[in-house]
């Protein structure tokens, strides 16, 4: 197989040189981080007040993890490391109901991102003679624009179709002899069904490759899309906090995703803990940006479950691979069609002094509907011993939750300490609905 590189030297750099480069990049990143209100305070607590405090990659261990909640708290500009005048673009998360998060980019950041995406695209074997139809949404969502600029840099013909309007997508695919498509796995399946319903035949299309990402999907879905369309599908991984797409991508060998370690320092934590995993063990991916200036993020807990493959890939790249994301502990829940963030539930619980701070959110199917149960603990110091007060408390919690999240939950009161407490990041949401 013809192995192509976007930047061969960087992609096949020996591990020692890569680590040396990571250290230099980490120092620069910490330098930018110290320019932000958020990290200046946080790093000072960890005894880091200047770039000189970072002498080895091990010094990263002194820095506390950054979480999505930190990003929310820092919204809108607590994590901005450069003057606003230098910023050329920003992307915010949807924040439909919760507080949004924002990532700023200066020109350097966009160039770096674009190069990473170009690297991904070329690693699959795509060249400047390909016609790339981008079916990901353009806008605040990073999936569309991220791949757009990468493909532009590679020199493909880009059709910025954005998402939706399937009939037009099919027409574009046929008329301009599209060879590569980029879409979510669910849209790929939708597209195939539409082809079946239309007068188009597979032979009308020249597509040979598909990029899919933005949703966690199973290996069987991956294979199904390949079989239905008779094309090669390459798995893409990214998250808005880390620019978006371009974090990790399958190369032409389609055997898990290379994560670009010159741009992201990788750590893996055992699920629900702050302990590193053993080699190859599944865990939560933690990333530190190494090339970003406007919004540096140190030890960001992605919430994504994967495992790291350390053995070399036959493609010659030295950047390690991560396996298909097992689940995105993305915190937004959709309950009976309503978008709910656990933080909204938490906010209500925290306002009621009679219950403690530990809680659990359980969602299960009750017939065709979703049943939301919020489990709380009685706070000993506020306990009066009066049963009527407990009845009233339950009703009050239920009503305040309903006012905040629209859905009326079942509220359970438990003894103090009855709900499990985890070390590190607590697992509070238990979605017991089974898909399909």
């Amino acid at each position: 197989m013809d192995i192509r590189y976007w930047n061969k030297e960087q992609e096949t750099l020996d591990r020692d040189s890569l680590r040396a480069q990571q250290l230099e990049s980490l120092k620069e990143t910490v330098g930018y981080a110290l320019q932000t209100a958020f990290y200046k305070r946080r790093l000072a607590k960890a005894g880091i007040t200047s770039v000189d405090d970072i002498r080895s990659l091990d010094d990263l261990q002194r820095i506390p993890y950054t979480t999505k909640d930190d990003l929310r708290e820092a919204y809108p500009d607590g994590l901005l490391a450069v003057p606003m005048n230098d910023v050329v673009r920003l992307h915010t998360s949807s924040g439909t109901t919760g507080t949004p998060t924002v990532i700023y980019h200066n020109q350097h950041d966009l160039d770096s991102w674009t190069n990473l995406v170009a690297r991904c695209i070329v690693s699959t074997g795509v060249t400047s003679s390909d016609v790339f139809q981008n079916m990901m949404g353009y806008g605040l969502f990073t999936g569309g624009l991220g791949l757009h600029y990468g493909a532009e840099r590679v020199g493909t013909v880009i059709i910025p179709a954005s998402s939706g309007n399937t009939n037009r997508q099919l027409r574009l695919m046929k008329d301009f002899r599209t060879t590569v498509i980029h879409a979510t796995p669910s849209y790929m399946l939708h597209l195939y069904n539409k082809i079946q319903e239309s007068e188009y035949k597979r032979s009308d299309f020249c597509i040979r490759k598909g990029f899919t990402g933005a949703e966690a999907y199973s290996a069987s879905t991956h294979k199904k899309i390949e079989e239905l369309f008779e094309l090669d599908v390459y798995n893409s991984y990214g998250l808005s906090e880390m620019n978006g797409p371009g974090v990790a991508f399958e190369c032409c060998l389609k055997d898990d995703m290379h994560i670009w370690e010159d741009a992201y320092y990788v750590e893996m934590l055992r699920k629900g803990t702050e302990e590193p995993v053993d080699a190859g063990e599944e865990g939560e991916l933690v990333l530190t940006t190494l090339q970003r200036q406007a919004t540096p993020l140190l030890r960001y807990r992605t919430g994504d479950l994967t495992s790291l493959r350390i053995e070399p890939c036959a493609c010659g790249r030295t950047h390690r691979r991560i396996t298909r994301i097992k689940g995105r502990a993305d915190d937004m829940l959709i309950i009976n069609g309503v978008n709910i963030y656990p933080s909204q539930i938490e906010a209500v619980i925290m306002k009621v002094p009679e219950v403690g701070t530990n809680y659990q959110i359980c969602i299960e199917k009750a017939g065709s509907l979703d049943k939301l149960t919020v489990k709380t603990e009685i706070y000993s110091k506020m306990f009066t011993g009066d049963l009527k007060a407990l009845d009233a408390l339950k009703v009050r919690l239920q009503e305040e939750l309903k006012a905040n999240i629209i859905v009326k939950p079942v509220v359970e009161l438990h003894e103090p300490g009855a709900l499990p407490v985890q070390e590190g990041k607590a697992i509070r949401v238990f979605d017991l609905r089974t898909d399909n």
Partner: protein, 142 residues
């Protein structure tokens, strides 16, 4: 005023045992017990010989516990004994929020433990009508 312990417990196997085990270890004797049930949880009410000590032991265990006032009224252990007291409450329009009773001397005396809204008013009424209310000390030393 005499005190009883109100303990929040979940309605599942082993919860009562954790309370009784703790009290046993603290060498506390239970005089009377009552549980108000709400399905998935309840309030366990205990009359013990040393409420303060029991309160500390159970709090140490991490339980939600409260010390609550209770009127312990002596009634006669014979037909109509409780009825006489109940009639008095009705006449004075006093609601018994929660109550439980036990016998201390068969065919002679029983104790009626009752929670009310206004303890002082109830106490005066009851005593003026010839009932004896146990003091804290008397109750704990039963």
């Amino acid at each position: 005023m005499a005190k009883q312990l109100n303990i929040f417990i979940e309605n599942k196997p082993g919860r009562i045992e954790s309370v009784t085990g703790t009290l046993y270890e603290a060498n506390i004797n239970v005089r009377a017990i009552e549980i108000q049930d709400r399905g998935d949880f309840g309030i366990m009410k205990l009359l013990v010989d040393d409420p303060q000590k029991a309160y500390l032991a159970l709090s140490d265990l991490g339980l939600a516990v409260a010390l609550r006032d209770v009127l312990a009224i002596i009634i006669e252990d014979k037909p109509g004994g409780l009825h006489k007291l109940a009639k008095l409450f009705t006449k004075a329009n006093i609601n018994m929020i929660d109550a439980y009773g036990f016998v201390i001397d068969s065919s002679r005396e029983g104790i009626w433990c009752v929670e009310v809204e206004d303890y002082e008013a109830t106490r005066s009424l009851v005593e003026e009508n010839g009932f004896k209310i146990l003091s804290e000390q008397e109750l704990y030393e039963l």
